[in-house]
């Protein structure tokens, strides 16, 4: 049955800059939800978690369950939602500042925990909402108001890190390629385990890499990349280090995909806790400490 995309709209005013890469992610996310609903996923089980930043406004713009969390904390929140109710389809939306700066620890460990959630990072390589400071993924030399002489240190490569940290689904998308991104999100949701999608999201105001990226981008699916091969995945991940090297090639698509036990399985979680009726008798509970 055709799902009416309008159902996913809210009455909130969209306050992204015109042309912002976030629109592409919003469209892809909605489209992915719509198609998944058409495939039988129940709409009311979709639950998003957002960080804080431009990206996070997506919470206001999709009419599904949502937890507008605090800066950097999408992942622990999302994982625990899944553990508390394994029936939910949990989508995380984080920023690069959010996920790779404030939330680094959660990112590294989430990869290992392998909860069955999908994490979309709006990677505009900049703290946008706070007006353009360098983040870990900004290129060397990036000039923002906190680095007027240029960012000093090397960028972080989250795709390579996610692989090394044990993530079971590692992908990169491009926010202006909505169709491809829709596919990635759907694949992420369908993947049983932690699906991580780093999305290159040009920030037209502070960090517009669209011209740079467009020219250098290619699709892993189109070059016969085998996403079950970890070493290959790593090699591909290292092709671009997030610096704006003119010679770089930027692969998008699924780098790696493998099935492992999920966190919910590890903790043996099946039934949503809210459905569990506990009839605990406090006297019986206390009994173990009764001496006479």
């Amino acid at each position: 049955m055709k799902f009416d995309l309008k159902k996913l709209d809210t009455y909130a005013e969209n306050t992204w800059c015109p042309g912002c890469g976030n629109f592409g992610i919003l469209t892809a996310a909605k489209q992915a939800v719509a198609e998944l609903v058409e495939e039988g996923y129940p709409l009311n089980k979709f639950t998003l978690v957002a960080g804080i930043g431009c990206h996070a406004k997506i919470y206001d713009y999709i009419n599904i369950n949502g937890f507008y969390s605090i800066h950097g904390r999408v992942l622990p929140t999302a994982i625990a939602i899944k553990l508390a109710n394994p029936e939910l389809i949990v989508l995380g939306f984080g920023g690069d500042g959010d996920t790779y700066a404030e939330g680094t620890a959660h990112f590294i460990h989430a990869a290992r925990y392998n909860a069955d959630i999908t994490m979309v990072v709006h990677n505009n390589q900049v703290f946008a909402l706070t007006t353009g400071q360098a983040t870990p993924t900004s290129e060397r030399g990036y000039r923002g108001k906190s680095t007027p002489e240029g960012k000093w240190e090397e960028p972080m490569n989250p795709v390579a890190l996610a692989l090394m940290a044990g993530a079971t689904f590692v992908a990169r998308g491009y926010s202006y390629d909505v169709k491809h991104l829709t596919w990635l999100i759907k694949e992420g949701v369908k993947h049983r385990g932690f699906a991580f999608i780093d999305v290159i999201q040009p920030c037209v105001t502070f960090h517009n890499v669209a011209p740079y990226v467009r020219e250098r981008m290619y699709k892993l699916e189109e070059v016969g990349h085998d996403p079950s091969n970890f070493e290959e995945a790593l090699k591909r991940a290292l092709e671009w280090n997030y610096d704006l090297d003119p010679k770089a090639k930027i692969p998008i698509g699924i780098f790696y995909k493998v099935e492992k036990e999920t966190m919910e399985e590890g903790y043996n979680r099946r039934i949503p806790y809210y459905k569990v009726e506990r009839k605990v008798d406090w006297k019986q509970v206390l009994a173990e400490k009764k001496i006479i």
Binding site: N85, V280, W282, L286
Partner: protein, 555 residues
């Protein structure tokens, strides 16, 4: 002395040795044996922050009458597993303190047990503590049979029974005879155990934590019971993950608690503020220890009170409840869950090392929960407003996936549907909704005995305190006349009028607190304007004893 007098005498035994020698376990077993015999026992545990070696000791204080605290000098017996114990506690012994120690440890008087044949009898050196316990039992006149029953159920390994008998038989035993007091309904447990049980009785679904003394025992306690009661125990990468996961799980419908101590609590404070805005129920156990910072991590203090009251930026309702003994800890834990889930607020259960790790003897009747656990969920069919503005400020709670409509939680100021707002009038309305909720919670708390009075209700001299000082104060109170003890159970919302009523005609009002500034005094002033500079404080990382309080009250 008549039997009745003898049995109401307060007696203390110190058991000391190195970490790893089983001091704490021996004391716990001794405690259980005595409770089994109908005595009231308090078991204090003192250990430095190390795993092997050093000097640990326990003080087991018992009597036929109620006992809620230990003594820090004048021990009847000192069981010394090593020489350091003798040396360390010399200043605290009585003239006739009796020593029990293995051969080789020099003692001023008492008996040395020759353990050299133990190995031959299949008793490993690790069981020296039990051997000495045997000798102690003999000395105190504890019936062998009862002791063996407890040992069998408490200590794994048959050699323990042997060890006990080895000591019992070699012990010189002349200290008297401990008669059995015909009593029923006695419980022996720590505050941490009571909190764990209270959480289970509240229907906990998930306990989430990162290890931190002295909250860790709750983590261990619950982990050991998660299968039996079918809940999840989750240890995550740090306290920030812990508290945000807790909010996520709670939003998704689970009954959740987190536990930590000051440093971890500090890391959680950003998310406490998120609790305030999102109104996702949250229960936090804050087990205080000696600060500031890492401080003296295995020792006690009550110095996080003002922090617990104000942690988190901005203004939002919260509950801070401070139990004074395990029976209270059990009940108050249940209340903390009840309030959090019924009113979508933050409940902070404020304990400390002393309450958490000391064993208390509680009577059956002292456990009497005032609330019933419930999920407090609604499942409306059509529209649902996650932040509906209601008269009492409380929005009925639903969970994602349980209804057709979206369920939202947010850290931003928002409208009734949880959509972000920056409009002045809506902001004002939502602030007022939360203020009204705080009032609603206040009214609810006033029904939960937010303040208790002990001793002579007509007395005009008043001890004011909260939390784990309760035990020492109650025991001191028996030696005071013309005094009452006003214990503040709920520090937020504060029972102002009840409090003022208790002190209005008082000649003297003394604050007792395990801190260097007397924070409850500041809270009282803040809430009521009532000020007293009369304080008995202790801030050497040790808990109060009745004697300490009496001395300082008089001096």
């Amino acid at each position: 002395m008549l039997w009745d007098d003898i049995r109401s005498v307060r007696r203390s035994v110190l058991i000391g040795g190195q970490a790893g020698q089983g001091v704490a376990k021996a004391a716990e077993v001794l405690g259980k044996i005595l409770v089994k015999l109908g005595y009231y026992v308090f078991n204090y545990r003192d250990y430095p922050s190390l795993i092997r070696g050093g000097h640990n000791f326990n003080v087991v204080t018992f009597s036929g009458d109620r006992v809620f605290s230990h003594d820090e000098r004048g021990y009847e017996v000192i069981v010394a597993l090593d020489q350091r114990t003798v040396k360390t506690h010399l200043p605290e012994e009585k003239k006739d303190t009796y020593y029990i120690a293995p051969k080789g440890v020099n003692i001023p008087r008492g008996e040395n047990i020759d353990t050299s044949e133990a190995l031959k009898e299949g008793i490993p050196p690790i069981a020296t503590n039990v051997i000495l316990l045997g000798a102690l039992a003999k000395y105190l006149g504890i019936p062998k049979k009862v002791a063996l029953e407890v040992i069998r159920s408490e200590l794994k390994g048959e050699f323990n029974e042997k060890a006990f008998l080895y000591g019992y038989e070699r012990g010189e035993g002349s200290g008297g005879k401990i008669g059995r007091i015909p009593r029923r309904g006695l419980y022996f447990l720590t505050g941490n155990e009571a909190i764990g049980l209270g959480a289970i009785a509240s229907g906990i679904d998930m306990y989430i934590a990162y290890p931190m003394t002295p909250a860790t025992p709750v983590l261990h306690f619950l982990a050991a019971r998660k299968k039996q009661y079918d809940f999840t125990v989750l240890q995550l990468e740090n306290e920030i993950a812990v508290v945000n996961a807790a909010l996520g799980a709670s939003y998704a419908g689970a009954i959740v608690m987190v536990g930590t101590s000051g440093g971890g609590f500090a890391l959680m404070s950003e998310a406490l503020s998120l609790q305030g805005m999102s109104e996702v129920p949250l229960v936090v156990y804050l087990a205080q220890r000696t600060g500031p910072s890492t401080g003296v991590p295995t020792y006690t203090a009550q110095a996080d009170l003002l922090f617990a009251l104000h942690a988190g930026h901005g203004e939002f309702p919260r509950v801070v409840v401070a139990p004074g003994d395990p029976a209270e800890a059990f009940e108050r834990t249940m209340e903390a869950f009840y309030l959090a889930y019924r009113y979508r607020v933050l409940s902070i259960l404020l304990g400390d090392k002393h309450l958490g790790e000391s064993h208390y003897t509680m009577e059956e009747g002292e456990f009497s929960p005032r609330v019933k656990p419930e999920r407090f969920l609604v499942f409306p069919e059509g529209d649902y407003k996650s932040y509906e503005i209601t008269e009492d400020g409380v929005t009925p709670r639903s969970v994602p996936g349980a209804i057709e409509a979206p369920v939202r939680a947010t850290s931003y100021e928002h409208d009734e549907y949880g959509i972000t707002t920056e409009e002045g009038p809506m902001i004002e309305k939502m602030m007022e909704k939360r203020l009204r909720k705080a009032e609603t919670v206040r009214e609810a708390v006033m029904e939960l005995e937010p303040l208790s009075v002990y001793g002579d209700p007509e007395a005009d001299r008043v001890i004011v305190s909260w939390g784990s000082t309760k035990g020492a104060i109650l025991d001191a109170l028996g030696h005071l006349s013309g005094w009452k003890f006003v214990k503040i159970n709920y520090i937020k919302p504060f029972p102002s009028s009840l409090f003022l009523h208790e002190v209005e005609d008082a000649r003297r009002v003394v604050i007792v607190e395990n801190s260097s500034t007397g924070q409850i005094g500041k809270v009282i002033a803040m809430e009521t304007g009532f000020i007293t500079e009369d304080k008995v404080l202790r801030y050497d990382a040790r808990p109060f004893t009745p004697e300490y309080i009496l001395r300082r009250l008089r001096g």
